[in-house]
Symmetry: C2
Amino acid sequence: MKNSASLEDLIEALRCLPGVGPRSAQRMAYHLLQHDHEGARQLANTLDKVLTGIKHCEKCNSFTELLVCNLCSSTKRNADLLCIVEMPADLLMIEQTQSYNGMYFVLMGKLSPLDGIGPKDIHLDRLLKRVQDNTVKEVVLATNFTVEGEVTAHYISELLNSMEIKVSRIARGLPTGGELEHVDSGTLAQAVMERREV
Amino acid sequence: MKNSASLEDLIEALRCLPGVGPRSAQRMAYHLLQHDHEGARQLANTLDKVLTGIKHCEKCNSFTELLVCNLCSSTKRNADLLCIVEMPADLLMIEQTQSYNGMYFVLMGKLSPLDGIGPKDIHLDRLLKRVQDNTVKEVVLATNFTVEGEVTAHYISELLNSMEIKVSRIARGLPTGGELEHVDSGTLAQAVMERREV
């Protein structure tokens, strides 16, 4: 005895979501069927709408329904600066800090040779074209401080080396509120090496 | 700066799933858009299909596309026994043990006055009709051993008291492989009280 066929199909379909295994997929399916038909209907419709409507912004490569997203077409942003991030979520994090007013380019990934992800997969051709449009004066590398993120940042900085563009990397060091006693030694070592004059 | 409008809609829609907060909804939305259009399309279609196609079985109240589910219409099951469980997931768990060959009735909930869930909400009227169809000789109460599950089992046993039907409750005690030293005292007390002759 199993669940009914279409219920099994739904459980299977829910497993396309990251972090959802067989048991939580089953719990989700039962929840939707018992308590939230409205939400399930909404989810189905929104998925449909997003899948047909959403594209990548021609300038920053992030998700948008428009040809060029609102941020890229805004006249209030500083077009001299181009911040490079791995994912749209990173872009949102930086926006939340309200400390940056330039433009963005979203790689939608990071270099990862072991996973077969090379320069073409993170749209570096489009990045180069974007950088060469004569507005960008500084590229801010804001990829993660992971091995892949560092490799990606290094690769891009080499790529931009020959052009007359300043390339910078966001700072690494102790987090705000961080205590020397509790920070890992790698971060502390970097913080000492990259010390700034006051 | 926020996500694009339809992406925000999708993130909001994903939150109808149990256990999915704003951050995991965002992660799910990005994942679907970047890596799994196929899965997202499948999910939307299956939700659609399930929402229109699935109903409650006329006999056991579980989910099915049919009027009477496969288990209830099977001739290989023992129609004398009717096992009462809270949720379809509980039914599946019992089926997995392969230790029970009777019929089921799924309450789709449990009595919980504090949440406003009374006898009508767990379909006890339908249960009574099901029990009175002259096939059932024993009702096996397999609700959870939680406060609500116990109250529900007690309420149903009172309800069936006046009829000529045997009512039993699944056993409580130490789990298989359980050690006295590590089991909670409530379970151990019950195991002593409900000891069986060997």
